[in-house]
Amino acid sequence: MSDKKKNWPLWEVFVRSKNGLEHRHFGSLHAADAEMALENARDVYTRRNEGVSIWVVESKHITASNPSDNGELFEPAQDKVYRHPTFYDLPDEVKHM
């Protein structure tokens, strides 16, 4: 072992609650490796049939956007109303389109 003590890393847990639904972020936990992270996730996040499938990924592998960049990332979408169906004028005779 190295002289500096290594602590169990942090993992993010994603659970699919039933087939047909996507995996959703449930929380995080510490574990020595991926296998233990899966086992711990089962005990910590699915004690009452909350899931049928679990993903775990070490937290350090996640790249997250920074809230201070929210302006340049998300604001440009706000003035693009033509991406929405209601932007287009159609006669009333055309039902359901």
């Binding site: 072992m1 290594k6 169990w8 929380g27 020595a32 910590v44 004690r47 009452r48 809230p67």
Partner: protein
């Protein structure tokens, strides 16, 4: 950042919370918000973890398999709640090791209620009924608190908590419908847990220092005294159904107020226990610290195994 810029950010931050928007970990937040949340969430997590000890005491001696399975599940839930809360707390930039260190060194507090002993089986009933009952009243408003990870953890905790209270009340009910001795045991447990349960809501509003700020940040929705009154009003009729007596000679329904009046809480006792002089403070902390220390070799071995597997994977990849 200049003072003016910080003040500007703070105003935007407060307005965001006032609009009922959530704060997420990477958002800007005032340092005081961060520190207050680290303190409160970690205290909450520590309480769940230490809270396993008084009940764990009875797992091997539960009177039936049904009771044993339920108690095991409850204690396991508490471990789970502690883990949800620790990871919510870590999103604020403090490590799990630091959090444990604060608990083990006595720097961080946990709920004083767990410094009382569980001397009979009826105590397990009383804890579920009263202690979990009080905890639910404290916790439900936190499902809407302003810090996203804390609110999400609390939603999960509250969902799981109601079984805890019901199983406790069922234990009390069974004892109260049993022999004279069993009923006396239930009464004795109520006698010992009633006042400490009332203290779980914290000092009176006049003495409470953080209330105003906590209300603003939605760490609190009602004051300590309001929550305490709510608990009493809800619990006294439940004691009547059990046929046992709340140990307060001043307890009386007040028609005008629409609430129960109740006697003076022994605040000296409260502060004694908070300061570390309760019946079990030393025992609880020692149990916690020795569990941590005695588990060290297991944690190290798991880490060493994980590293070895990783290395092996790397070499087979190279070879193929």
């Amino acid at each position: 950042m200049s003072d003016k810029e910080v003040k500007n950010l703070e105003e935007m931050f407060e307005a965001c919370i006032a609009r009922d928007e959530k704060i997420e970990p990477k958002d800007w937040m005032p340092e005081k918000y961060r520190q207050t949340h680290i303190r409160q969430i970690s205290q909450h997590a520590h309480s769940e973890i230490v809270g396993m000890l008084p009940e764990g005491n009875w797992i091997t001696r539960a009177p039936s398999l049904r009771r044993k399975a339920a108690l095991l599940a409850k204690v396991q839930d508490e471990a789970g709640h502690g883990l949800y809360l620790y990871s919510a707390c870590e999103t604020l930039g403090i490590s799990r090791e630091e959090l444990y260190e604060q608990l083990h060194s006595g720097k961080a507090k946990y709920s004083s209620i767990f410094n009382y002993p569980t001397i009979t089986w009826a105590d397990i009933g009383a804890i579920g009924w009263l202690v979990d009952g009080a905890a639910i009243i404290n916790q439900v408003p936190l499902c809407n608190t302003s810090f996203g990870p804390y609110a999400r953890a609390m939603v999960r905790v509250c969902k799981e908590e109601s079984f805890h209270q019901r199983q406790g009340y069922e234990i009390m009910l069974t004892l109260c419908n049993g022999t004279e001795e069993q009923k006396a045991m239930a009464q004795d447990a109520l006698n010992r847990w009633w006042w400490p349960s009332l203290m779980m809501f914290g000092p009176t509003d006049a003495e409470s220092t953080h209330t105003e700020q906590s209300m603003k940040w939605k760490l609190k929705r009602k004051t300590n005294d309001e929550l305490r009154q709510q608990f009493i009003d809800q619990t006294v009729p439940q004691a009547d159904i059990l046929g046992i007596t709340v140990p307060d000679p001043d307890l009386k329904w007040n028609d005008e107020r629409g609430h129960y009046d109740f006697g003076e809480i022994d605040w000296d006792e409260f502060w004694q226990v908070v300061k570390g002089h309760g019946p079990c403070n030393k025992e609880r902390l020692n149990a916690r610290v020795s569990a941590w220390e005695e588990g060290e070799w297991v944690r190290d071995a798991a880490m060493a195994y994980a590293e070895k597997q990783e290395e092996r994977k790397a070499t087979t990849k190279k070879a193929s």
